[in-house]
Symmetry: C2
DNA sequence: AATAATGATACCACCACTGTATCATTAGTC
DNA sequence: GACTAATGATACAGTGGTGGTATCATTATT
């Protein structure tokens, strides 16, 4: 059980890195050099972040990326949504028929509640929060 | 992101099923018939539960399993530990060097805290709780 | 003896995660 | 204008874990 996949983790690191250099243009090469993250993989991740509106990109020589939003508006939970898909965890693994079984649904209910608590907490975490510490 | 793998999920269902028939001996065939879960997979799961001391097994004709513990002593979190391994989530994906980077560790701290909250909650959930509802 | 169960264990298939590779395009530099 | 260094788009690839199946041995009841 891991809350974050590498996708999300790398994205968070990259954004933290960029948050520390606001105004500067950052290339995948910079991130690769300073954070030792695999370069082509980072490219793909940064491109996704750009598509999602979190980064502004500039092509060409001395191109790169800059944050499109203030760090306080970048939420960890949103990165998870982008790279890990829908957060509705704990969906019933079964057809409705079986799911309506009395023995089964209390389990879902518990998991859903635990999930909600977790997601609610993560909703509160922004890039700015992480930068402060 | 799914809190439970099928392993754990099936195990919980099977235990709930058996919790509803305490004293009776239950075979994988019974579970397969009533819960529509894949039979050989269930066998493996039940064997693991037996090894871990959650079930008592009887071999031979009319053999099967019974709960080895009262439902109040069977905790969801322990099933997760058995089938999903160590619950220390959110381990740093990096070598210590990089992990000590200022930009990185606040992320771990947040995730660890969220994880702890989740695990603490799940620690409170027993089979008996699930049977009540 | 036949049957129906578990014990142990090896094997297998699929898929998501974690990348890599390539070609096209763009923008500065010389 | 050619060169270079960046991104855009996209296709491809390796690998490990999840989710199973299969088989043989053993045991107990009929």
């Amino acid at each position: 059980m891991n809350l974050l996949t590498r996708n999300t983790d790398y994205a968070a690191r990259a954004l933290l890195y960029m948050g520390g250099r606001r105004g500067q243009r950052v290339s995948t090469a910079d991130i690769h050099r300073d954070l030792k993250l695999p370069r082509p993989f980072m490219r793909k991740i940064l491109q996704q972040l750009q598509k999602e509106g979190y980064l502004v990109s500039v092509k060409g020589y001395k191109g790169g990326f800059t944050l499109a939003l203030p760090p306080a508006k970048i939420r960890l939970i949103e990165l998870m949504r982008i790279f890990q898909g829908d957060l509705s965890l704990s969906d019933c693994l079964f057809q409705k028929k079986i799911c309506s079984c009395v023995a089964v649904c209390p389990l879902r209910r518990e998991l859903k509640a635990a999930e909600k608590m977790l997601v609610d907490r993560l909703k509160g975490v922004t890039l700015a929060d992480l930068m402060k510490k």
